[in-house]
């Protein structure tokens, strides 16, 4: 009764986890030193990054090999899927934190500073301050830079919404291709998705540039700028990660990996991409529009 289906799969001892830890350690140690102007900081961060890149090739390489040699049974596949699901859950929680903060500022603490509600007396500390959103006039601008104009919802953000939404469609189309075993559709779907992701990224970069140079909207322009960059910045970071993951599975698809039944890596990335999509919708609604 000990067929591959019956037997449990346990990977051989692997050096990758330890390498990952070393990479992360140097990366964050470098950040901490760098922020305090210690010259070893950038070096340490660089080492960390190199180790992490090495790690990606190594660890993913192993997993891909195992997958191709059919070492995984249904159990392992399910574990991967559930693991990915819980990982995305934690990411939801991470973004919910920032959305929660935005809510807190806009509906609780800023009205207090403006003289309404429970802690409304606070307003006597900030004479002349009234609350508006986007917050153009700060309670005290001494340590901050003056915001000139808030970011509108039209133009680039609106295009970006369309772009990300269509990328959700293309990735699904690629998935259909995979299920029908239509390689061309799979690969072209992925390439289209990657292209859309990159356009999104470029537009976002341009938007930041515009905000910094023309709108006076910076990290230092008070709470509006702070929340704006925190939310869009972390989202942009996730888009970047997602695009890299898409590239990996695109390359694998070109090499002919994945079958109709066995394509967890593809689905994991697709889930992630949809998640990034949904977060953007929230951003568009609460950061740009309302």
């Amino acid at each position: 009764m000990s067929t591959a289906e019956q037997n449990y799969f346990i990977p051989e001892p692997s050096r990758w986890p330890a390498v990952a830890v070393v990479g992360l350690f140097f990366l964050v140690l470098g950040f901490a030193l760098w922020m305090n102007g210690v010259s070893a900081g950038p070096v340490s961060t660089g080492i960390g990054l190199l180790v992490i890149i090495y790690l990606f090739f190594g660890w993913f390489g192993d997993v891909i090999d195992e997958s191709l040699t059919n070492k995984y049974n249904q159990d392992v596949d399910r574990s991967f899927r559930q693991g990915m699901f819980w990982f995305i859950t934690s990411e939801v929680s991470f973004f919910a934190t920032f959305f929660g903060c935005l809510y807190y500022f806009r509906n609780i603490s800023l009205p207090w500073l403006g003289g309404e509600g429970q802690l409304g007396v606070s307003n006597i500390l900030w004479e002349g301050f009234t609350y508006t959103w986007p917050l153009v006039n700060l309670p005290d601008v001494t340590n901050y830079t003056q915001l000139i104009e808030p970011m509108g919802a039209g133009g680039i953000p609106a295009y970006n919404t369309i772009i990300l939404l269509s990328s959700g469609v293309t990735v699904t189309w690629a998935h259909w291709g995979l299920k029908k075993d239509n390689r061309a559709q799979l690969v072209w779907g992925l390439i289209a998705t990657i292209a859309l992701g990159m356009i999104f990224f470029a537009l976002q970069a341009y938007e930041y540039y515009h905000a910094y140079t023309e709108l006076g909207l910076t990290l230092n322009s008070g709470i509006y700028g702070s929340t704006f960059y925190m939310l869009t910045g972390f989202h942009g970071f996730h888009v970047t990660l997602g695009t890299i993951m898409l590239m990996v599975i695109c390359a694998r698809s070109m090499k002919g990996h994945f079958t109709e039944e066995n394509h967890f890596a593809f689905e994991g990335v697709a889930w992630y991409w949809h998640f990034v999509d949904v977060v953007w919708l929230g951003l568009y609604l609460f950061v740009y529009w309302l």
Binding site: S109, W112, L113, L119, V121, S122, I124, L125, W126, P139
Partner: protein, 375 residues
């Protein structure tokens, strides 16, 4: 109480109290005596929950003790394998929560009543005091009288047994008046807490919190800063002097005239001598700066720089004036003092720092210099 009390005596007294009494029998083992309606109400609530807690613990300890005495294997107790299948086993999951819910609601009920009292800010207040916490002292502003006092910790020698619970300028308040406190902070979080007259509320920089009280008994009440605020958190005592209305009014009048005199003096364009400035400067220094830079001017190595022989305190006067008036650009802990002190005080202070502790630069800074530096 003193250190000399033998430790053994304390220990045995303590253990005896534990055995002989519920925790609340003795004054020392409980919240200090409340002297305001609100704190009395809280005290009663505290007694209620303490009693409920004690009863619950007695029940739990009782059942467990009975169980471990009665059902031990060495007594020949046989395990009843079907106990959990009986009626009790079937229904206890409702029974226990319902009983606990009952107790919970009793507690919550009386707590909600007290809470409504506490949060009742609608009535008219007789005195409003703005309490500002700073690292590491308290500033009190009587909002209706335009009087401001700064309250610093007294040294060990001056305070004796009250060390860490004694200050130079206590907050003076009248009894039997409704007093409103506005809490805020200038740098980091602090919390103003005098358990006998008013519970604590956080002082949050940039925001204002409110509490109120009515003191019913004259006396001196002590407390401490209750929210960690850095190096000097243990050294931020609070003292409230509750006095009769007459005494309060007299005190207030005196304070006002003293303050008027001080500001008139600062505004005059008199040229001050070194000695005058030094003696005034020492006072200002001792109320505002010793918390960090210490009486000796030596600071705390690695945390607060020494002014004695310090680079800035013996360097160019302009740089010295800049850091004292505008604060440090590198370290926010060294705050800007231009707003809190008047021209004379600043001039005296800087003169003092440049000549005390053997700094002997010989520089004299006049109020007029400060005035022009303020631009």
């Amino acid at each position: 109480m003193s250190k000399s009390k033998s430790f053994l005596a304390t220990l045995s007294a303590f253990l005896l109290t534990l055995i002989a009494s519920p925790a609340y029998a003795d004054y020392v083992f409980n919240l200090p005596e409340p002297v305001a309606p609100l704190t009395s109400q809280i005290y009663d609530l505290h007694m209620l929950t303490t009693k409920i807690a004690t009863i619950i613990m007695v029940i739990v300890i009782g059942i467990v003790t009975y169980t471990i005495l009665k059902f031990r294997k060495s007594n020949g107790s046989e395990a009843d394998q079907n106990f959990h299948k009986g009626a009790f086993g079937t229904w206890s999951w409702i029974l226990v929560p319902v009983i606990v819910l009952g107790i919970d609601l009793t507690i919550a009920g009386s707590a909600t009543d007290a809470l409504k009292q506490i949060e009742d800010y609608s009535q008219k207040n007789d005195v409003t005091v703005k309490v500002t916490g700073s690292q590491w002292k308290w500033t009190y502003e009587y909002m209706d009288d335009d009087v401001r006092i700064v309250s610093n910790m007294l040294s060990k020698e001056e305070a004796g047994d009250n060390y860490l619970r004694a200050v130079d300028n206590p907050l003076v308040l009248p009894v039997n008046k409704r007093i409103r406190f506005l809490h805020t902070a200038s740098d980091v979080l602090h919390a103003w807490w005098v358990p006998q007259i008013v519970y604590k509320k956080d002082s949050i920089p940039g925001y204002i919190n409110e509490t109120w009280t009515k003191i019913e008994k004259e006396g001196t009440y002590r407390g401490q800063c209750a929210e960690i605020c850095g190096t000097g958190h243990a050294f931020m005592p609070i003292v409230v002097e509750a006095v009769s209305e007459d005494k309060y009014n007299a005190w207030m009048a005196e304070k006002k005239s003293a303050m008027a005199a001080a500001s008139a003096e600062a505004a005059s364009d008199k040229t001050w001598t070194m000695d005058e400035l030094m003696s005034r400067g020492e006072k200002v220094y001792n109320t505002n700066c010793i918390a960090c830079h210490q009486v000796t001017g030596e600071g705390v190595p690695g945390v607060f720089p020494a002014l004695k022989g310090g680079k800035i305190a013996t360097g160019p006067v302009a740089g010295h004036m800049d850091i004292v008036m505008n604060g440090s650009s590198k370290n926010p802990v060294m705050a800007a003092w231009a707003g809190a002190l008047n021209d004379l005080e600043l001039a005296a202070l800087i003169t003092y720092e440049r000549n005390a502790w053997g700094n002997n630069t010989g520089d004299v800074v006049q109020p007029s210099d400060i005035k022009s530096a303020r631009k």
